[in-house]
Symmetry: D2
Subunit: 437 residues, 4 copies
């Protein structure tokens, strides 16, 4: 894959003149190309496999994001648009009940057809009609289309990240340990000592308030009272997490939530996901294959249950999402994103871009917060099927913040709320500690 | 069962002189007797059965609450105390990992021994030693013991409620439809029309702040900002819920949380738990046997998922626990509690005790809030095994407020936080609507 | 329990004048009393519990065998007979689809009602009507009734054995290790060395051919060719089985059937059912509580998979049911049966009744044969619901022969075919080896 | 696919001079080529998918049969042979525990690598070394190698059939209904009326007795007594089976084995596998896509449970495997095999090759017998890992006889014993009736 292609996409997606159809077409082209460039290391067989219900085959991701444009833009807005195949709407709808019946999520890996080539043809077909639609759209139409295209592109960026985390899982269960990309050399630097950055008590404004794009779950902006608190200056490292393991963290139920302990027992967890012990040392499966665990890197692929247990063991706690957001507003959006081409977290202080006391706020690993994923006061989902995007998942999940090494830098915001169930660990998920002041 | 016995227990548990060992012994005696009086309608066989993992056999409840006093008071504080049986600590520990190994929760119904008689002997044995301990305790000792006894009694009261909800489940799955107690006549009155009671925006104090007993999860007291909101004046009725059902509520996925819809499909829900259709009319299983559904009664035995879907269908939402608490502070603690001897919710306006615009705030049915069960800012669990009481369950559950017809009036407080997973429905759970002002 | 009562029942059931209603009533009375005498050591709570789907609560057994008489004799033959309770037919039907709907087998332990007392009343009610019917039956009627009563009594004897094996399971999972009856002293004698008893090649007659009672699956009598073979002179002992265990039998997949190995892995088998290791020695749970494993006793509670693996390890095989039957015809029906009051297998040569070279053919433990349970050539099930008794289970089960220490001596025959799935082990099941001559 | 290639393979595999290495090499080449020719209609994605545990991805079949030659011939017999990849032995071992650890059967569809191209390279690598080995083998070596090669080729032929039945399943669950090959026109002819062909009582010889290849489970030859019986002259047709369905066969538990009825309920069976109802008519998924059910064709894809229930409904029974074998010996091996290129059963009387009163004995559909798969008297598995080929599956399976439209005509014999669990239905399985004379 060309890291250059990824980097060239960085400049885009920042400012958007909603009536400039050429600019929007350009932006559309870039995001769509990034998706395909992420598939360059794959062979046809890699696109097909689904190794657990949570993940999807690569070709499903490629088609589903196209179905999104077809369903929410082409069908309602492109006169005479005819879907390429009558069954694709059934196969590639993910969970939008208002958009019709759909194929079982846990059987996405059962479909050898449409082939990879068919799926790329489907993408091309959708692109062709999207460009055609944009070419003929007048200013009024553009004001209608632009927000839909924007959400379609944000949606595709989310699936770019999932495509990477999912192929990582597919490769990880293969005894041949396939490599997605060779490991990239990275600068070494001593990891800064753990320090605490204080924030004051106060009635804060939380949630999105600019004209840029945001998901409905980031609003409405509202007041929230915070007691004084402190955030760790960086993410928890593998070395620190190993100390927890060696101290018996995985054998001490007192450290765990009740449901976490049950899960730990049922799944026989003894280390982060993707770690394996061999001759007394720990290896970790990465997109560059099986590597030795590097103590200075942020610990990654831990569940909420593990993050919570670690924090308790460390005499701290996880931050709330509001505490995180107030802190993150003070930090420029820089860090180890997908554009860096590491596809793996890097130690604090090595990205060359970080400033200020709070390191690694953006990129590297999503940070678990202790906040259950819930609607903000006054929250209303978008009307129609797109209202299913976020709202209906506000149950039994926890909020993560900040993006990861598989996220695009153009996709993240201080108000961005990612969310996963507390036992999920196949995403690039890690830990930042907090405590009461 | 003697409703009189239940009622006579009402006066107690209110004020507590922590150094008055005789008063505390009296209070202990009353609560323990109430537990046993609730078992009067049962035969030995009824005490044994466990019909799902969530529920426990009656004799397990009777013994477990005794184990609680034995473990947390007699063993550490009664010199020379010798447990009645070496295996009881294993059998009757529920989930306190710091109190040692325990029997599998889902196999509590596998134990025919100890017999019911053995269990009553165990209760008597514990009581005898508790009274002995209290008799000899000096003032210093009493200051140490009183808080433990208090939590032990509160704990026993919780199991009194569970004992009722669990025996209801046991009876409900029996084709013979056993009756726990005959139905009690209740006054009829027209149900007040649904109305909205407004509350103002503001920075409120939430959580416990008196000297009375409270669980650690009710504190610490902290500030919380609320936007203006409105609460329904009463609980949702069976009649209103039937309208939701008739409008296709159970066949409309758009109304449901994603996980709720999956659950509804898997469990084939089409009505509240305990409802069955027969010849086109709905019956409901109650502790007085199978009765026709009464439209004016509060709907009961609905899960969070159903409550949430109903609220969405009704153009409203569920309250947050903070909204509920602020409102409840304005209402005297009165209502349809276990002492009333109904063991079933009654229509609004018929309890003869309600005043003010907000009806049924206490008693009848626990009210689902939309608040995930999470630690309050600054929350610290109690040290030791008792710290497992509440804190380790703060995950994937929702808060319920206000008590039910199976709760003791002496047990409830405006700050009391009950919690259950969103698919639970075998408790007396119902709905009060809220909306933004 | 009075072993005397059990013994006094021995003389019965042997010869039956089908028209002698008084004799048949007497026989009926004895069998019914034996059932109740087996319950003497139990308290009410013991009757209720079901610890796995395969077993049934004691009170279910007591009622089901009464339902059998009610359904197949009283309802069709006793004019004006009115069932005691309209729901009992639903609750106490086991698997006779032609006899109507029935309660779920895996929920028999969910029913606290009818109580134990109710069930005994039900038995008395059925008995009363049975005796009434017999008193008034003329000779023609008796010829019709006698075969039905006979199958009803044989059926009740089968449930007497199940009642014992099931209560053994209930007690075994209880940390209190209840004792059904105190261990009975038994004579010691050196176990005879393993020797092989030869049988000649030939075309043999297999199956039942006398006027005595037999189940439909024991016929029709038919010819079957056998090659020359040898049978072990006695059952495999605990000591021999321990040698298999110590030789790694449970860790050597080559010794096992494929499905057996899968089961052994899934269930983590490392020893016979009911065995537990403690401080390096093996204990076994018995109806007399937890005892040390006695090397000379026949190994018991092994599945077909274990029996088959053991035989392969020992360089032998299990006999076919035809080989067993031909051999057993030469042996008088004597041995360690339920009437002996051991409720546990005893070493070969100690029962004081055995003669000839083949020891332990009857009683002690059922012997697994390598014969899948299949219809004999020309087999026709009985017409009507009673035809479901045996025929519909002829799939995925193996035949066992000879009876056990929980079988009545009046119940067993050389042609008797018991059958269980190959993973079953809660019955008194053991091993006799065979090999080709 | 070239039916010609398939047909040209027919002449081979019949006579085998074990010392003629060139002839054996030629035979090897033909069988290997047939395997690959069966894959011609597939694209790379088709090779990857596993849609249920019982089936395997096409590329797994292609590699596993090569692993078989590598493991049992090249490694022990080709000096200096070095496996192509160290992990292939782990990935492509099916169930031979004596040949080492292996990948989980239910995760064969999780492996995108090795790619299809890799797998073909693996085949070429194994072929090259096999030819090299044969070229240098002297007569003594050939006598050692020939039986192993023979079993390897028979094994590969079995997987050719599985490859077809498995890809049929993969295509069947795909909403796009892919077509493996276009439907082939077939001659029409009236189906002969059902008639009964009688066989006499007698002591017969059963099992293999020629010098040709046979699996160990076909021997040893032994005597077996049969009562007089009759076999249906042809297989049961779709039309006849539809009459069973219309008569309520799937709603009548009395017709079913107990375990069959449980399975029918759990799996919601209402018709043969691959049948779907659409607008009141029945379609069937075939390798030529979705077709209307043809009444004259043999019913196919029925489980043992369905075959047994049908037979009972029809007032007949299934034959034993001995009855089938004695009858089949009188019939020449001709019929609708894979070489015919139908990949689907055809009506009786249309194959143009059948003679005598017994039609369709070979080919079309495997015929369920009522014989549990058990060892013949005196059976000994082959020593070593190849002894796992058949013997360890002799439990909870039933024997099928005669081959199918997916079997090679060169692969079938009158003594050939196929076996599947009674709920299996994805193979080409059908019904021939029998009855007592």
């Amino acid at each position: 894959m060309t890291t250059e292609a990824l980097k060239s996409s960085t400049a885009v997606l920042v400012e958007l003149d909603k009536t400039n159809s050429a600019a929007i077409a350009g932006q559309y082209r870039v995001v769509r190309q990034v998706t395909e460039s992420l598939c360059e290391p794959l062979v046809a067989e890699d696109y097909v496999v689904q190794t657990m219900t949570d993940i999807s085959p690569t070709k499903w991701h490629l088609a589903h994001v196209s179905w999104f444009f077809e369903t929410f833009i082409l069908k309602p807005h492109a006169p005479g648009y005819k879907p390429l195949h009558p069954q694709y709407a059934f196969i590639f709808n993910s969970y939008y009940v208002q958009a019709g019946e759909r194929h079982s999520r846990d059987q996405r890996g059962y479909l050898s057809r449409p082939t990879v080539e068919d799926v790329y043809s489907y993408r091309a077909y959708v692109d062709e009609h999207m460009f055609g639609l944009l070419e003929t759209a007048n200013e009024a139409k553009m004001l209608e289309l632009a927000p839909l295209i924007e959400i379609g592109l944000q949606h595709e960026q989310q699936h770019q990240e999932l495509l990477l985390t999912d192929i990582k899982h597919v490769f990880s269960v293969n005894p041949l340990c396939p490599i997605y990309h060779p490991q990239k050399a990275q600068p070494k630097a001593p990891v800064p000592a753990l320090a605490w950055v204080p924030f004051e008590e106060g009635l804060y404004e939380i949630g999105h308030d600019t004209d840029d794009f945001f998901y409905d779950n980031e609003g409405p902006r509202h007041r929230h009272f915070l007691r004084a608190y402190e955030l760790a200056n960086r993410q928890v490292t593998n070395g620190e997490y190993l100390a927890f393991m060696e101290a018996g963290g995985y054998e001490t139920p007192e450290l765990w939530l009740s449901e976490g302990w049950v899960t730990r027992q049922e799944q026989s967890w003894t280390a982060p996901f993707y770690w394996t012990e061999r001759d007394g040392r720990w290896d970790v499966f990465t997109l560059a294959g099986l590597l030795e665990v590097e103590p200075d890197e942020p610990v990654c692929h831990v569940s909420y249950f593990e993050a919570d247990a670690y924090a308790r063991w460390a005499g701290a706690r996880l931050p709330t999402e509001q505490e995180w957001e107030i802190a993150a507003r003070t930090v420029p959006i820089q860090g180890n994103f997908v554009e860096n081409g590491h596809f793996h977290p890097v130690p604090a202080g090595t990205s060359g871009t970080e400033v200020g006391p709070l390191l690694q706020i953006y990129g590297n690993v999503w940070e678990w917060t202790r906040s259950p994923y819930a609607p903000y006061p006054g929250y209303e989902p978008q009307p129609g099927a797109l209202g299913e995007y976020n709202g209906k998942f506000m149950c039994n999940q926890f909020v993560l913040r900040g993006g990861s090494c598989a996220t695009s830098i153009t996709h993240i915001r201080p108000t961005y709320r990612n969310f996963f169930p507390p036992d999920a660990c196949w995403q690039f998920m890690g830990i930042r500690l907090a405590k009461d002041a």
